[in-house]
């Protein structure tokens, strides 16, 4: 058979063909110059800036609409008007709103989120203390949901319409219909008999004991992750099955002689990943919101429970700070999703010629 040479082991940078031309195996195609790629990223970041400003404005505005008087609730119901006025002056609550907002905004640029009205502690240090727990909880929930969702979707897409597919559909439906607080309480009820397996409340920091840390976070993670898992699983299953059924490249891959697992893993899944990343990112907001309830139920010392405490005493500064941080994190997650999308889909990366 002419024209096809069996590849011999040549090694080295340049391989010579029969006519002596040198060619290399890696790409010499013109790529997007670096400055163009970076400018795409910068442009995306730039659209986020006015949104962040808007978020800070909205946070401040909402929390200063509070009809409840902070000073009054701090001092107790039987404080005199004079005492209230004095506390207000001390805390600076009697200045006009605009001035307070601008001062707060200015502080933000320096990383200073103000001071707690109740305890006087700097808000940023309070947040920093507590965020480790919430971060770990959220990350565990994301990892658990995503791996389970993808695993189930792979099994379902392998044989659509059979058991794995139906089980996956049912679990996805149940997942999105179960609120985290309901599941949390049911889990506590279920595991209360064997309290040694998972503690129903309390948190063990990772410095003390890694195993204890994971044990104390197991039930909260499951409760938090269930709705998230439902959403992810429904999407990935649907997308993977759709890829396998109606996309031409799958038939080409099968016509090559690849087995079903190989087709799924090497061809269908990478194409689904793009959509999966979007779904993960967009649903991060509700997940973070869910930490508020879950931390309360399981008495975890995280940002969510801090938020609740602050809301109960009407500590505006702390609430502002936490709400702002959560909103900004959600926004950054959406941003990362957009950028990852650009990275994963070569059609967007290289554009069309």
């Amino acid at each position: 058979m002419t024209g096809i040479r069996a590849g011999s082991n040549r090694g080295g940078r340049g391989d010579r063909t029969q006519d002596g031309r040198v060619w290399t195996l890696w790409s010499t195609r013109p790529r997007l110059p670096h400055c163009v790629a970076v400018s795409l990223v910068l442009r995306r970041l730039a659209t986020a800036v006015p949104v962040i400003l808007g978020v800070s404005l909205l946070t401040f505005w909402i929390l200063n609409l509070m009809p409840g008087n902070t000073a009054l609730s701090l001092l107790g119901a039987d404080a005199t008007a004079a005492q209230v006025a004095q506390l207000e002056a001390e805390l600076g609550l009697d200045r006009p709103a605009i001035e307070r907002y601008l001062e707060w905004l200015g502080g933000l640029f320096k990383g200073d989120l103000g001071r707690s009205l109740a305890s006087g502690q700097p808000v940023s240090s309070m947040i920093a203390e507590r965020s480790a727990v919430t971060l770990e909880l959220v990350m565990l929930a994301v990892v658990l949901s995503t791996t389970l969702a993808v695993g189930m979707a792979l099994l379902a897409a392998r044989r659509p319409g059979k058991t794995a597919d139906r089980v996956g559909a049912v679990m996805g439906m149940i997942g999105i219909s179960t609120p985290s607080y309901v599941l949390a309480i049911v889990l506590v009820l279920a595991f209360a008999v064997n309290a040694r397996l998972f503690p129903s409340i309390g948190f063990v920091p990772i410095e003390e004991s890694a195993l204890g840390n994971l044990r104390s976070l197991t039930l909260p993670t499951i409760a938090l992750a269930m709705p998230y898992f439902g959403v992810c699983s429904r999407f990935v299953r649907g997308d993977l099955v759709e890829q396998m059924e109606s996309y031409g490249y799958i038939t080409t891959a099968r016509a090559k002689g690849l087995g079903s697992w190989n087709v799924l893993l090497r061809h269908a899944l990478p194409n689904s990943l793009v959509g999966l990343v979007t779904v993960i990112g967009l649903n991060l907001g509700p997940l973070i919101g869910g930490t508020v309830i879950v931390e309360q139920i399981f008495a975890l010392p995280g940002l969510g429970s801090l938020l609740l405490q602050a809301v109960n005493v009407r500590d505006a500064a702390v609430v502002q700070g936490i709400v702002l941080v959560m909103a900004v994190v959600t926004l950054l997650a959406t941003l990362c999703v957009d950028l990852l999308y650009m990275l994963l889909d070569p059609r967007i990366r290289y554009g069309r010629r």
């Binding site: 909205l58 009809p67 409840g68 149940i174 607080y181 309901v182 508020v292 938020l307 609740l308």
Partner: protein, 291 residues
């Protein structure tokens, strides 16, 4: 020809299992959740009127912790002496009413904003999108929490605070649906044949984005019910002693191991209602997008 025989032989009756399965994916996938929802609605809104139930609040402690099937109390009483069945029914009223009104507001207001934004395009669209982005950046519960604790509790306040979350979500869906419809030829031809933008939106865009918005609203009823439940669970939203499924679950936590039914009953009702909404919304979405 030999092939014809094979064709005749193909029309066998399917096996019973396959038949049932085919029915479930037939019109029954709309009928079953719709029936369940109807049942729940009738129970929550009809029962107190039809049957004389004891009041959901103001029970005396002397009657606390009665077991199910006691006299006058079909499901027993809770820790404060209130009739559980009555509380569930009234709590359902509150939760369902809130969820439905929030979604109606979202549909009308958010749908309009989104449709207008998508239709007008360019500068107006960009502006409205930025504003929507600001709202959507907040995790749902957090935003609602912040507003709810400022406004206070009660049904009306809860509706306002939940709308703050629902309207931007509808606006986003309406906008993307409008953008898709807008690119189609019939909209351009309607514009060319005259008629102002408002008329065009109403007559051409709205009927085409309506199915999508309605299914989103159905799924949204479930979502809002869950968030309202969470709000009430935390003590905001509907405040004690008025019942809501959320605050019933919170209250029941105290007696979790002695009387789990106090938690499980409202939880199951909530779960069932949300599940039926989701199933119905999904079924309708499948049906309408297959067209």
């Amino acid at each position: 020809m030999a092939g014809a025989d094979a064709l005749q032989a193909g029309a066998e009756a399917p096996s019973p299992c396959r038949f049932v399965l085919a029915q479930v994916t037939g019109p029954l996938d709309v009928a079953i959740p719709a029936a369940i929802l109807l049942l729940i609605l009738v129970a929550c809104f009809g029962l107190p009127a039809a049957v004389g139930l004891p009041s959901p609040v103001g029970g005396s402690v002397l009657e606390a912790n009665l077991p199910p099937f006691s006299a006058r109390h079909l499901l027993g009483t809770d820790l404060n002496g209130n009739d559980v069945l009555s509380r569930i029914v009234h709590g359902g009223q509150a939760s369902i009413a809130i969820a439905v009104s929030v979604n109606v507001i979202g549909l009308l207001l958010g749908g309009t904003i989104g449709a207008v934004s998508g239709y007008l395009g360019r500068f107006v669209d960009a502006l409205i999108m930025r504003v929507l982005d600001v709202f959507i950046a907040f995790p749902s519960l957090v935003l609602v929490l912040a507003v709810a604790q400022g406004l206070g509790g009660g049904v009306l306040n809860t509706i306002w605070s939940l709308s703050l979350f629902s309207v931007p979500a509808f606006a986003r869906v309406a906008r993307s649906a409008t953008l898709r419809v807008r690119g189609q030829a019939f909209v351009t031809s309607a514009e060319l044949s005259g008629g102002g933008p408002s008329r065009n939106v109403l007559r051409h865009v709205a009927p085409n984005i309506a199915p999508q918005l309605i299914t989103f609203a159905l799924l949204g009823v479930g979502v809002v019910m869950v968030i309202e439940g969470g709000l009430s669970f935390l003590g905001f939203g509907i405040e004690a002693p008025r019942p809501s499924w959320g605050n019933m679950i919170a209250q029941g936590q105290q007696g979790l191991f002695t009387r789990p039914s106090l938690v499980l009953l409202p939880s199951s009702m909530l779960f069932l209602t949300v599940l039926s909404c989701n199933l119905l919304g999904e079924a309708l979405r499948r049906r309408w997008s297959a067209r």
